[in-house]
């Protein structure tokens, strides 16, 4: 367990730390870690920085193996890792996307105030808990045929919209319009189909959640106005991905990639980094299957958004339109995407891996919805269930330095076991309820693993983004109700 990295790090400025290639023979590029000294100390206990070094081994990596301030020990890539590869001679690694392909977050606004919601909050939480299936063994209410599943893989969120699940503006307010091109159902195994079919429209468990929140601070008036956010407003946010469908796609392709890595004689410091050249058959097949899983995830979040709106309309006795439940944005934070970036002054297409990292495109970028184009792409940064979450905006500096990427959340501080041990006997639900937060959780015994103590303070993480210039703080929300598996 190498911990030599702390002394090897070179301070670039208060928020940037360089891990030189001399740290570990085989690194093709240096590592670059976004953190302040305090956050850096929280990384001392785990292997995250070692993983930054390992990612730098991958063929075709351009610039730096980067880590966002929420970085923590993952498998293969660190969680909070960003790496871009040249299309010609570069590799794609399923470990750089993760098992939960297109795990992401979505934020929906309302025109309700906390005062209007408070009297019905318990009923609303019950309704959301009933309408959005979650937890171990949960099945979605949607039954789709094999052919329909193929269509979902190819069309993503639009498939749901065609069936009345959502509002027309939802697609524009979704990264890549909720559909990644190049998905090919033929590259997806029967097993992935079987796992996915039953779970379409489910939240999952672990760190996935749905929250009713209230905007409690605005830092950037112009951006907040563009995003349709103001102090005192109730919003809904949720976090989930491609469920068993994506998990199985990744599991299947890791086995394929191990063979490919051997065939292409790629030296790997960690088997989970198994990869193949982007232009090879296994590389292309993986990207086509990953796109199918990403689209499944967008369809999944689209269904959940629909049920969320339905629950609000039912409990409040008003229509979705009257409630103003339009979508702020939907971001992916486990994905690999081919994007246009500038490398040494030249425009270049790169395969950007974001493993627990969010796209953060700047003002003026063609992929930012027209209504947000003056202020930049909304970036959703969920915190932990006891404190707060943030909305940020993408910046030019992110585009120039981090391939238009930023953090994805608070980042874990403690393992599940450590959190549970340290919180033994603490009534987590009671503690949240005492602060006015309504909690509906399927598995109460696991709630300690997701308590605030298990996570970094997302305020510290967001502060680093803001000061380093790779995102701008826009607004902060505090939870009113938390739904978990």
């Amino acid at each position: 367990m190498a911990k030599g990295w702390l002394s090897s790090l070179e301070k670039v400025d208060e928020y940037r730390w360089l891990l030189p290639t001399s740290y570990k023979p085989g690194m093709r590029v240096p590592g670059l870690i976004y953190a302040d000294e305090r956050l850096l100390k929280t990384m001392a206990g785990d292997e995250a920085v070692e993983q930054v070094a390992n990612v730098a081994f991958l063929p075709g990596i351009v610039g730096y193996s980067m880590a966002m301030p929420d970085i923590h020990w993952g498998y293969g890539f660190p969680i909070g890792g960003v790496a871009a590869m040249r299309l010609n001679g570069g590799v794609v690694s399923p470990g750089g996307v993760g098992f939960d392909i297109n795990c992401g977050a979505r934020l929906i606004r309302t025109n309700l105030t906390e005062a209007e919601v408070r009297p019905v909050l318990d009923r609303l939480a019950d309704q959301l808990f009933r309408d959005v299936p979650s937890g171990l063994g949960a099945h979605g209410p949607l039954r789709v045929s094999n052919k329909e599943l193929d269509d979902i893989m190819v069309r993503g969120a639009a498939w749901m919209l065609d069936r009345g699940y959502g509002l027309p503006d939802d697609l524009e307010a979704t990264e890549s319009h909720g559909c990644l091109a190049g998905a090919d159902p033929a590259t997806v195994s029967q097993r992935a189909r079987e796992r996915g079919r039953e779970q379409l429209g489910t939240l999952g468990a672990g760190n996935h959640f749905l929250e009713v929140e209230v905007v409690e601070a605005v830092y950037d008036e112009e951006a907040a106005r563009a995003f349709g956010l103001e102090i005192g407003q109730v919003v809904v946010s949720f976090h989930c991905g491609s469920r068993g469908f994506g998990h199985q796609v990744c599991q299947d392709y890791l086995a394929v990639m191990e063979k490919a890595a051997r065939q292409f004689e790629i030296v790997l410091p960690d088997r989970q980094l198994a990869c193949a050249p982007i232009d090879s058959k296994p590389g292309k097949d993986y990207l086509a299957a990953m796109a199918a899983a990403a689209n499944f995830a967008w369809a999944n979040r689209q269904a959940i958004a629909h049920w969320t709106r339905g629950a609000f309309a039912g409990v409040l006795g008003r229509s979705v339109e009257e409630l103003g439940m339009t979508q702020v944005y939907d971001v992916a934070h486990n994905i690999a995407k081919v994007e246009e970036h500038r490398v040494d002054g030249q425009s270049m297409r790169l395969c950007v891996h974001r493993k627990g990292a969010t796209r953060a495109f700047p003002p003026g970028h063609a992929e930012v919805p027209p209504r947000y184009r003056k202020v930049g792409q909304p970036v959703l940064v969920p915190g932990d269930m006891g404190r707060y979450s943030y909305v940020c905006a993408g910046t030019e500096r992110a585009m120039a330095e981090t391939w238009g990427s930023t953090c994805h959340g608070a980042g874990r501080l403690q393992s599940r076991g450590a959190a549970k041990r340290s919180l033994q006997g603490v009534d987590i639900v009671g503690r949240l309820e005492a602060r006015g937060i309504v909690v509906r959780v399927r598995n109460r015994s696991l709630i300690a693993e997701e308590a605030s103590e298990a996570y970094k303070d997302v305020a510290d993480v967001v502060e680093v983004l803001d000061r380093a210039g790779i995102s701008r703080k826009v607004a902060r929300m505090r939870p009113l109700a938390v739904i978990k598996g």
């Binding site: 068993g244 960690d270 989970q272």
Partner: protein
Amino acid sequence: MKEQPPFETFDHTADVGIIARGADLAEAFANAAKAMFSLMVDLDRVEPREERRIEAEADDREGLLVAWLAELVYLSEVDNLVFGRFEIDEISDTRIVARAFGEPLDLDRHNPKLMIKAVTRHMLQVAPSDGGFQVRAILDI
């Protein structure tokens, strides 16, 4: 030397690791499966009412451990089953044939815990130990 348990779990910041031991590869693999399902449910509450046959292949022992556990994750999820007992009928470095015994997940009776997404290859290990084998894997939660 202190007697080592047939399996245990260990902490990982985001996920959970398992270590299992056995007098031979078959026993170590069976114990690894128990370790995994012990994270999902209370193993001693799982009745062996249903049986599934499993065949998995890989290029080496470590890959086989992943393939074996991943097959169980898949079966558990699509058939909504949890398993508590495993019989290995055949095992080599590259192929395993086994039977898993369990029953449909019962949320009231099994005390459900973690949902296992997948089996990672990070820190993966199958190694000779004390005349038998010790295996290690990290599971994605």
